[in-house]
Amino acid sequence: MPLGPIELVIVHFPDDELHTELIPSIRGLVESKTVRIADLVFIQKRSNGDVESVELADVGEDALSQLDGLVDAFDGLLSIDDIEELGKSLDPGTSLLAVLFENTWAAPFVEASRKANGEVIFNERIPRAIIDELMA
């Protein structure tokens, strides 16, 4: 199966703690073959303005053991420039988690579309506010 669609999700936190409690939910998605992790990094902006990035490899034994073996071909896609740029855009005392993942669940659908000479020409997440408004 060719590589499924790759997506970048950034979760922003109003604090600069390391939110490793998200890792079990990611693990669940990977174990069920819903996604494959292409990249994952935590970026923290300290109150003094320092930017720190924490790699999966540095997250700590507990979290690491939960994801171990699930990210074998882990080469990453984000560059040091991306991390610096994201760090610059953070307010002090806040942080974010950037995850790049393959939408493994979508790969067979996209492949079937391609075999039928179809092409995915539009693929966008509708902001929650719009859905709420339409469903009100």
Binding site: I10, F74, D75, I80, D82, L86, S89, D91
Partner: protein, 120 residues
């Protein structure tokens, strides 16, 4: 666990931003991070909005500089200087005005860029 090589590889978001500017679609990721952060104080809101405006303006400035440069190349090659279509000119003047309002261009730079555009 393997550690990804972050240095020496091209910027993912930079590549996305370049494509977005060419395609005229949404601004790049870091702009969204700045804009999406919840501000606790009005001061922070103003700062975030100003950062977003600066980011937008810088992308527009680069695009405008490229357009001006390519216009100048075309004009140098032509026997007689030709004015760009009026519609483009107005859009470019408006963009210059936005950049000046955002503080990206000084009054002098604005006047100089405007004069270059109007000279055709």
């Amino acid at each position: 666990m393997r550690r990804p090589a972050r240095a020496g590889r091209p910027s993912l978001m930079g590549t996305m931003a370049r494509t977005a500017v060419i395609a005229g679609t949404a601004t790049a990721v870091s702009g969204k991070v700045a804009a999406g952060q919840q501000a606790k104080a009005a001061q922070q809101q103003t700062t975030a909005a100003a950062q977003q405006a600066v980011f937008d303006s810088q992308a527009q400035l680069t695009e405008l500089q490229n357009q001006v440069a390519s216009m100048q190349t075309q004009q140098a090659a032509a026997a007689a200087p030709s004015a760009p279509p009026a519609g483009d000119l107005i859009a470019q003047l408006e963009r210059l005005g936005q950049l000046k309002a955002a503080g990206i261009l000084s009054d002098a730079e604005f006047e100089a860029a405007k004069a270059r555009l109007l000279a055709g």
